[in-house]
């Protein structure tokens, strides 16, 4: 069941935000520091606890990792005693937590709607900017046994990647999705917690692969093992990182196809080619929402949501190209009189 709404009150960089979500692809764009990753992390935390039954507030601490794990540090700083809140909704259910800036322990935060929320679980995956598969061997046990300073999303993505492949023949939908991943040029396999790419050159360990290729390999794994299937929710922070722009088309086509089979997708991007590939490849029935995050004149973060690429406003990425183009023209016409 797709997420429908996210509401934030005095949470991290946000003063107040009430955002309606698309059941298809949600694209977050905006300058650095406008909260794109934070939005995806709160949504992911809500999805993850629906499956694990863990406390929402404790999961927030794990994915944001505030200093000394003090939940209160996630409240937007105001220099006085204030409360912050996060509320995620799907259809007629809402999961909400609220806490003050003095709250130390996550378990002392107020959480409402948890029981109903956990009654129907959501399969979800969060792909962080940093690639993790090459660091996989031993990481999971290290993370579970020691206090290491890694946000939970890094351990969680490995847990998803380690899931065994689905039994039985590959159905047509997954076959089509996997065919799109031909750019991977091989099959990903797992031996003693270590990931390999098997292709014509042999069995290559992930540490020897280009980082972009490892990302495509991860996507391939998540499709192959059923993590990404109808009803699941995917979060991907900056899919463009370390990928050659020639592969962006394949990635966007794969995301569109996943959306068509019922996967709700969230991704944040700074890249023009990613946006343009999505714009050029989407079909009329595809559900896509572009959420443009920006700071208003009083410094507060606002969000403008549109369905079409050309309607995005403000568009920090296009603004950068406009600035380049305008300076290019000025250089060309310099001295003309």
């Amino acid at each position: 069941m797709a997420l429908t709404r996210v509401k934030l009150e005095r949470f991290t960089a946000f003063d107040s935000l009430d955002l309606e979500l698309s059941p298809g692809i949600n694209v977050f764009i905006g300058a650095n520091g406008t909260g794109k990753t934070h939005l995806m992390k709160v949504c992911y935390a809500a999805c993850d606890v629906s499956k694990t039954g863990a406390s929402f507030s404790e999961k927030l601490v794990e994915v944001f990792l505030p200093s000394n794990r003090r939940l209160g540090r996630l409240v937007k700083r105001r220099g006085k005693s204030v409360r912050g809140a996060v509320e995620i909704s799907r259809k007629d259910q809402s999961l909400r937590t609220s806490f003050s800036n003095h709250t130390k322990l996550a378990r002392s935060a107020q959480v409402t709607g948890a029981a109903k929320w956990a009654a129907s679980s959501i399969e979800s995956v969060y792909i962080p900017v940093k690639e993790m598969l090459s660091n996989a061997p031993g990481f999971r046990s290290l993370y579970s046994q020691r206090e290491i300073h890694f946000e939970a999303v890094y351990a969680d993505i490995l847990q998803r990647a380690y899931k065994p492949l689905l039994r039985g023949p590959v159905d047509q939908t997954r076959k089509r999705l996997l065919d799109m991943q031909k750019a991977v040029e091989g099959k990903v396999s797992l031996q003693n917690e270590e990931f390999f790419l098997r292709n014509r050159q042999g069995n290559l360990e992930f540490t020897l692969l280009a980082e972009g290729m490892r990302k495509l390999g991860l996507l391939w794994l998540l499709i192959q093992n059923g993590t990404l299937s109808g009803g699941s929710v995917m979060f991907w922070d900056e899919p463009e990182t370390n990928l050659n722009p020639k592969l962006f088309g394949t990635v966007m086509e794969t995301l569109l196809e996943l959306q068509r089979i019922g996967v709700q997708i969230f991704f944040a991007t700074h890249d023009y080619v990613i946006l343009k590939e999505l714009d050029l490849r989407r079909k009329p029935a595809d559900e896509v929402a572009f959420h443009s995050l920006y700071r208003s004149t009083d410094g507060k973060i606002e969000c403008d949501t549109v369905d079409n690429y050309l309607d995005i406003h403000p568009n920090a990425i296009a603004d950068a190209f406009d600035s380049l183009y305008d300076r290019e023209v000025k250089r060309s016409i310099q001295g003309m009189r």
């Binding site: 023009y272 343009k276 050309l310 296009a318 190209f321 406009d322 380049l324 183009y325 305008d326 290019e328 023209v329 000025k330 250089r331 060309s332 016409i333 001295g335 003309m336 009189r337």
Partner: protein, 177 residues
């Protein structure tokens, strides 16, 4: 002030020494030389201006398809290059290439955003070419600068040379477009 109408587009040149349409009947070498649409003389340089209007409402599907095909194959860029070079030779032979020349191409296509315009400008610079050989044997460039515009960008940079699309332009009461 000199105005020209090129099918559905009208351009007006204000504050220039002269502005001419050179690819018309007076050119008389159309069988062997291509030509840009307009040559404009300013005190310190010439502007060569070329129009392409794939959104002309009077255009046929066949012409639009031809434009798309030339656009995608790179033939359009080659056309821009040959038009410039032939116009340069034509003007030189007429004793009028005595000042630096800037070449501006208008592609009246709304969907060409800044990123696409930058790419097309860079491609045109490489092919004209803007820079001479690495040997530095050229003592002067064959073109001082070049740029590709859409209508919005043209109008935002050249307030003295406004372009309007006639079919979508409303006539002020008692006035002319």
């Amino acid at each position: 002030m000199t105005s020209f109408v090129e099918r559905d587009l009208q351009i007006t040149f204000n504050n220039v020494k002269s502005a001419q349409k050179i690819d018309g009947p007076s050119h008389m070498l159309g069988h062997c030389m291509k030509a840009v649409d307009f040559v404009v003389e300013l005190p310190n340089c010439y502007l060569y201006v070329e129009f392409k209007d794939p959104q002309d409402p009077e255009s046929t599907d066949e012409r639009r398809q031809e434009f798309v095909s030339r656009f995608l194959s790179g033939q359009l860029d080659r056309d821009f290059v040959y038009k410039y070079r032939d116009s340069f030779l034509y003007e030189w032979a007429s004793g009028k290439a005595d000042k630096p020349i800037r070449y501006f191409v208008l592609i009246a296509l709304d969907s060409l955003d800044s990123a696409a315009l930058l790419r097309r400008t860079d491609a045109l610079k490489r092919q004209l070419p803007l820079d001479g050989p690495k040997s530095n044997s050229w003592t002067r460039p064959i073109v001082e600068g070049c740029e590709v515009f859409n209508i919005d960008k043209w109008n935002s940079h050249f307030s003295d040379y406004p372009i309007i699309r006639l079919s979508s332009h409303t006539t002020p009461a008692g006035g002319t477009p």
